[in-house]
């Protein structure tokens, strides 16, 4: 079922020329801006090594650093909550808001909140949640999910957004001017910032040494969400912690350059606790929710753990030939593109989305540009293997893609190759008569759906070697 899902949605996306043009234009722009900046700013290799080291060091001591972070935050008056599942996470946020009698919440961009489907949950509780990032606001108006983790509304062009604003915002004038559309969103949201009972945000880096939450953004909505309302709730996955503050500059440089080709974002907002006595603004109550949602299982496997290095820059999407053509909505789950292909099967289970690791040509463009050097290609291959291994417990749903026919073919292949008396006649037959295999043969039929028919060489390597006088091993 899941296999059909990505195929079907990908095919649908491929047939939509407007969607394809929107992604092509955006991805080309993002790739060239990133390349320009790294070319000018020199030391990509050194910066990348430093960023990867910071992430590896954090993962090597993850439980200890989480405890340290918690202790520091508590010392500064932040309440820390832990959630194993998205249901627990939602319940925690719901309880905080209910206790404060909150009716209106403004929210900065947070992919963890997308994992939790937090907006949907809070609306069910009768709480109005407004996405404050412009891209998130656009897709919220259209009841959509983000199609990119950095640029959530990248799948829409200005005409589509103009039409959406005109239809959904009361009193809006139709305009396709980006400045006018931006001003319209500013006017709507400004009033919400002023009235909001609570603000919700994500976290880019959580520094264990000081208990500091680092948030990056360009619009100022993140600062407004974490400053103006009386309550601030930050959400993060367990992997977001780093050891020390002096690791932030390298990670920050890698993040903003890789994501949008900027040397830095307009705002880097470092928050270390709620308002102190005497301060005139800032939230009087601050919470951090730390979410697991399958990450501890990812952590338990030494190879798969590398997925948790990710700093969510989205560069792997921008450079992925598959993502660029089908767009983010073709992927099931919260995270699309290469990072989604290695993360979502581990969060949702291979039995549900086991096709994702296969939705790749293994071109490794993602591996090459990943700012923290995650071996994405290797992990894709590993997950493909997990999909057929009934004896593995590393990933939920391991073995779900095992097919009796395929196992049989491989066992037969192994047996033939290990038995000269079977191997020689088979190779002789295939090299002479392989071209006559019927097109409808299972396996061959699937192969030929999108590829040319394989042609057998007239002489096998074995025969050629023997003819050249090489002795048998």
């Amino acid at each position: 079922m899941a296999t059909a899902e990505f195929r079907v949605s990908a095919r649908k996306a491929l047939a939509d020329p407007e969607l394809r043009a929107n992604f092509r234009r955006a991805m080309d722009g993002l790739m060239s801006r990133r390349a320009d900046l790294f070319a000018r700013a020199g030391d990509w290799a050194g910066l990348r090594a430093l960023g990867a080291a910071a992430r590896l060091r954090a993962l090597a001591r993850l439980p200890e650093l989480l405890e340290r972070l918690e202790a520091k935050l508590v010392e500064r008056g932040v309440r820390v909550h832990w959630a194993e599942t998205v249901e627990q996470g939602n319940a925690i946020v719901g309880d905080i808001l209910r206790r404060r009698g909150a009716r209106l919440v403004v929210k900065g961009k947070s992919m963890v909140s997308e994992e939790m489907h937090l907006n949907h949950f809070l609306e069910g509780e009768g709480i109005e949640v407004l996405e404050a990032d412009l891209g998130e606001y656009i897709i919220q108006l259209d009841h959509e999910t983000p199609s990119h983790i950095i640029m959530p509304a990248i799948h829409k062009n200005r005409r589509q957004i103009a039409k959406l604003f005109f239809e959904r915002i009361k009193g809006a004038r139709y305009s396709e001017e980006v400045d006018e559309l931006t001003a319209l969103a500013r006017a709507v949201l400004r009033e919400k910032f002023e009235r909001a009972d609570a603000g919700i945000s994500g976290v880019n880096f959580a520094v264990a040494e000081t208990g500091t939450l680092v948030l990056v953004e360009n619009e100022g909505n993140g600062r407004l969400c974490t400053t103006v309302p009386p309550v601030h709730i930050a959400l993060m996955g367990i992997e977001k912690v780093i050891e020390r503050l002096d690791q932030v500059p390298a990670l920050l440089a890698l993040l903003t350059r890789s994501a949008t080709g900027q040397p830095i974002t307009g705002y880097v907002n470092m928050i270390t606790g709620p308002r102190r006595a005497g301060e005139k603004d800032g939230p009087d109550e601050m919470h951090l929710v730390i979410l697991d949602n399958g990450r501890t299982r990812v952590y338990a496997d030494a190879e798969l753990r590398d997925v948790l290095r990710c700093i969510r820059c989205g560069a792997c999407m921008n450079h992925c030939p598959v993502y660029t053509r089908v767009g983010g909505h073709a992927y099931p789950g919260t995270y699309p593109g290469p990072i989604g292909k290695i993360l979502m099967p581990q969060m949702l289970g291979l039995e549900k989305v086991g096709d994702l690791p296969h939705a790749s040509a293994l071109c490794e463009a993602c591996t090459e540009i990943c700012p923290v050097a995650i071996p994405i290609g290797d992990i894709l291959v590993r997950l493909r293997r997990e999909g057929t291994r009934a004896d593995s417990r590393a990933v939920q749903g391991a073995g779900a893609r095992r097919s009796a026919f395929e196992s049989l073919v491989w066992s037969a292949w192994a047996a033939i190759y290990a038995t000269p008396v079977l191997y020689r006649p088979m190779v002789w037959t295939l090299t002479r008569l392989g071209g006559l295999l019927p097109r409808g043969l299972p396996g061959l039929r699937d192969w030929m759906r999108v590829r040319a028919r394989p042609r057998f060489a007239r002489r096998s390597l074995h025969e050629l070697a023997r003819r050249a006088g090489l002795p048998d091993a």
């Binding site: 500064r76 969103a185 500013r186 910032f193 400053t227 270390t272 697991d292």
Partner: protein
């Protein structure tokens, strides 16, 4: 949820690598690059102007009348300031003698007591800075009891004073020399331009939620 906490930590410890030697870190790519003073300013200015930051060079002159004149020229109706800071006091003292111009509004009470008025104000907010960062074109701000966070956030124009002698090469250098990690304030900000977005077709638009304009006054 204490149960979730111990369950998560227990699972992490069970899966933790027995002995992993954490990789060493070579900070050369983010360390200071030994720029000269003028080069620092030039780099900062170039990076910030590329994202629409405006500059007013008041070095060697009195910056209070310079700001007054700039605001009059821009027809800005009001200037919100932090009355207990040194720059705030200096402005309050000198402003009346400079003739007709923007009205001064002291930020002297908690946000909750004048939120609606602050949001409605259509002028500028003025803050000091703790220096700048040349490599990225950033200002360092540490909001405090005297200089609230919203002063650089809610008014449509943000005016920031920057002492040219306090520009660092890199963020890494600034945080080490200023010893941030010893006592982090509740909020520490890097501001590198006015509010902007590229969420519609990758087209840059300024002033989406935060200040529409940022003026850096060099002192």
């Amino acid at each position: 949820m204490p149960d979730a906490r111990s369950a998560i930590l227990t699972r992490l410890r069970a899966g933790a690598p027995a002995t992993v030697t954490p990789p060493d870190e070579d900070f050369a790519p983010v360390a200071g690059i030994g720029m000269g003073g003028e080069e620092r300013l030039a780099r900062l200015r170039r990076a910030m102007e590329a994202v629409h930051t405006e500059f007013l060079d008041a070095r060697g002159a009195d910056w209070v009348p310079a700001i007054h004149a700039w605001m009059v020229a821009q027809s800005l109706p009001s200037l919100i300031l932090a009355p207990r800071t040194e720059p705030g006091r200096r402005i309050a003292e000198r402003w009346p003698g400079l003739g007709a111009g923007p009205r001064l509004i002291p930020y002297d009470r908690p946000l909750a007591e004048w939120k609606a008025a602050l949001f409605a104000e259509n002028g500028a907010g003025l803050t000091a800075t703790l220096g700048g960062i040349a490599a990225t074109g950033s200002l360092i701000l540490i909001p405090s009891a005297d200089e609230p966070r919203t002063l650089s956030l809610v008014p449509p124009v943000h005016i920031a004073l920057l002492e040219v002698a306090r520009i660092y090469d890199t963020m890494w250098q600034a945080m080490r020399e200023q010893e941030w990690s010893r006592a982090m304030p509740t909020n520490l900000l890097l501001i590198s331009g006015p509010s902007k977005t590229a969420d519609i077709e990758q087209t840059l638009a300024y002033g989406v939620h935060g200040p529409k304009r940022l003026l850096v006054v060099l002192v």
